[in-house]
Amino acid sequence: MHRPIDVFRPFVSGPTGRTKTLVTAALLGGFALLLGGCVTATVQEVREASTGMGTGDSVAVLGRAGTVRGAETEEDFVTCIGRNMGGGSSPVAVINQQDFQDAMFPWFEPRIAPIATTDLPELLSQPLMAKRLEEIGLRYLIWVDGSTQRTEESGSMSCTITPGGAGCFGFLTWEHDSAYEASVWDVRNGRPVGKVSSDANGTSFMPAVVVPIPFIARVRAHACSSMANQLKSFVVDDEAS
């Protein structure tokens, strides 16, 4: 099965994902009732300078990129931060990572992007960069570093299918640990204004007596929402207003 060629994108065809989709859809149907596990989240803020958003100002949220396998921030976490900052009460204008990379191409591509925020002043002060940043109305650049790791897992479960029916028995548990830090850079004044960090961990478990019932701890989602809310109030500077 080949996909139509999109001139903007390389075209790839491979084994169809339909079989996998059907199996996973069936599994999801069976486990429609997803219950929540326990999550503990801590958010900390360090402010170095006052902040504020004017009319037409926007923020861009970028994740750490890299060519070393595993050294990058998950794309969906960065997207989640941007989506949460741009929604809810008192939303701020957010330029998503892809649009920002396109607008500043090629300076924020994975193999070229600055590795640390300390490299930003030299890059952003170049006349071409400064002009483009002014055009897109960027006020703050938020640089997110970190990841979510599965730290522990234990337990066992066995499932049996017989002509008379099917069932599972056992208990599984696993733990996820999230650690993220967002550095906020004031593009207009060319200096860092602070950091927001979010740590979250949670245990998921799945007991099974005939039917397995998963209790999923949404660790990354908690880390995202708590960090996004804190970042939103940080750039708007709720305390100062």
């Binding site: 080949h2 996909r3 060629i5 001139v7 903007f8 994108r9 390389p10 075209f11 790839v12 065809s13 491979g14 084994p15 169809t16 994902g17 996998k20 989709t21 996973t24 859809a25 999801l28 890299g66 060519t67 070393v68 396998r69 595993g70 990058e72 998950e74 794309e75 969906d76 330029i95 892809q98 649009d99 920002f100 396109d102 607008a103 500043m104 191409f105 090629p106 300076w107 591509e109 994975p110 193999r111 070229i112 170049q126 071409l128 960069m129 483009r132 055009e135 897109i136 109305g137």
Partner: protein, 203 residues
Amino acid sequence: MAVPSTRLPIPVVNPLPVSVGIHLSDELRSYVHEEAIRNTGSYKINVGAAQDLMFDNLATGLFSAHRFVATSTDHAADLDAILVPTINELQFSIPKQTKSDFFEVWLKYNFQLFAPDGTTIAEWPMQAYGRANSRNYGFLEDTDNGGLQEASRVALRDAMALFAFKFQRVPEVQQWLNTHNYPRPTAAPESVTSPPPSQQEAN
């Protein structure tokens, strides 16, 4: 201003004061890599279809003027040189092979730059790299095709980015640019990160 969202964007760099003809061969424009992976299936990656857009946008940002030419010897008075890119090789890996979360694509280009009299000004290779994290795809998404497509797109962007930075740093190109009163390269990173070795290089 609305943020442009084209997937292979025009680079934000100072254009070089030269007019360059670009010759894309039929072979390059129709470049397709096909490979079968044991116990997984066959894959077909078509990067040829993106070459026109890629080099058009690249040259729009990098050169003060450019146009596509039919042959590498099609020298006209308005051109300072002709650029001829070729793809020597494409390699890829999927998470099942590397026991990692990543789809990876390595794209090996070769570039030739010809003077108006047909002599070679410079010739240099370039390896672009792209990867996509399988964890960025949802439970119900077609991860294999989506991941490889994204890794290929990132490799094409990487090729554009590397070309934009490295072109004026190729010693023979630098020498040629001096004859066009180009003072010195645009400010750019001193170095770019090297990609991990491909499967063949690692073995």
